[in-house]
Symmetry: C2
Subunit: 225 residues, 2 copies
DNA sequence: ACCTGAACACCGTTCAAGT
DNA sequence: ACCTGAACACCGTTCAAGT
């Protein structure tokens, strides 16, 4: 009998952009950014590396398409009505955070200005910010502040996942916290003091607290126009 | 007579980590992240690629060291006394922003958790945040929010520089603004409306306004503990 | 039209051989 | 001890040759 593989029914018919992107996401999730190569992808799709170029222009486009499949739902979720604007912002932000948490390589893609997901995120947040009654002149700044914060957290998460490829996340937090606690007390008094909070904090709560902080700032601006 | 080169006096004596890192910064500034290879670096230093490994462990360490030379002064500048805490935060943030503006490849390095410059930035900002009288429980969140925002802006600047390798910055802003203005009015009403602000905004002012927003949020938290 | 896989022009890194 | 540069084990991408 034929050996059972993890992908018994691949290639019953031809390649397609969708099939290629799905395989890319599978590799990215399992092996990280460095694991995605056209040779590895061709192996998984039971073909040669050249075949992929008939459906995808290059690696950059493949990464954009892969990011799209992960963030498509997250960046449009705020259209749910009946929420306070602040809660709608938090809902989108958290959806993006959770998507990056489950697929850390997405975090590194957010900085790509060709990434449609970033425009959708900007749009989703911007609408809520406008609905909050923020003055016209402060709309761009307010939306940018929220978007840049989300991008920054995403970038860090992606980098942390890269650094902790073989350990798990809490182990990494413990080791970073330990490193901070051992810093020179004269040069790094603040970071040392805060090392414990770093170890004990919940990433998700912490992320939301940051969003709240920026929303509070936006509220303060709105009140003195 | 011998031909004049751009580096007539290189290699009068041996290699050193400093010389290697300086050459790396020179290449990074002139040709961007992709331009830095060990072969290119060896050419500039009039040696072979293997020689570099006697002074630098690998490419990652080289990038960390290169980032250090650019951010060393920026991340410690806040020790200037006599400033309001808010102004001290803005001074450090702006120093980092200007460093990234002058050396866009630095922006992509900020997410690296092994980057000592990030710890120094966190420390510098954290001290000022503590001096602002922020409650102990909110110190980590407040400092993280500011740091993540700076990291996010840095990541975007790095990506924009990569995307605009052959055009200049204002040209890029114009083309992004045009792309935004042409988005589907039903799907992207907010982004379309804001496209003009995107084109006309001053990056530096915009960045500082975002810092002000987060500082306002921190102030609001402090007032209701 | 779609696929194949060898080939091209690169990488980062190693290491025997030189001085 | 330091340097050299060929060699190794890869990349992304192209393209003649096949179906």
């Amino acid at each position: 009998m034929p050996p059972r593989t993890r992908h018994p029914r691949r290639r019953i018919d031809g390649l397609s952009p969708e099939r290629i992107v799905d395989a890319a996401v599978e590799i990215l999730d399992a092996e990280g950014e460095d694991g995605l190569t056209f040779r590895r992808l061709a192996d998984l799709l039971v073909t040669g590396p050249g075949a992929i170029y008939h459906h995808v222009a290059n690696k950059g486009e493949l990464l954009v398409a892969a990011t799209e499949t992960i963030l498509a739902s997250a960046t449009t979720v705020a259209n749910v009505d009946g929420l306070r604007e602040e809660d709608a912002v938090k809902t989108v932000a958290l959806a993006v955070f959770d998507a990056i948490d489950a697929h850390p390589w997405v975090g590194a893609q957010l900085a790509n200005p060709l990434q449609p997901a970033m425009v959708r995120l900007f749009e989703s947040i911007g609408r809520q910010v406008r609905a909050l009654g923020v003055p016209e002149a402060a709309l761009f700044t307010s939306t940018s502040a929220l978007t840049n914060y989300i991008l920054g957290v995403g970038g860090l998460n992606a980098a942390n996942a890269r650094a902790a490829e073989n350990t798990n996340r809490t182990e990494l937090l413990v080791s970073v916290s330990a490193a901070w606690a051992n810093l020179d007390p004269d040069e790094y008094p603040f970071t040392r003091d805060v090392a414990k909070q770093m170890r004990e904090h919940d990433d998700r709560t912490q992320f939301l607290d940051g969003i709240d902080l920026i929303l509070a700032g936006i509220g303060a601006l709105g009140r003195r126009p």
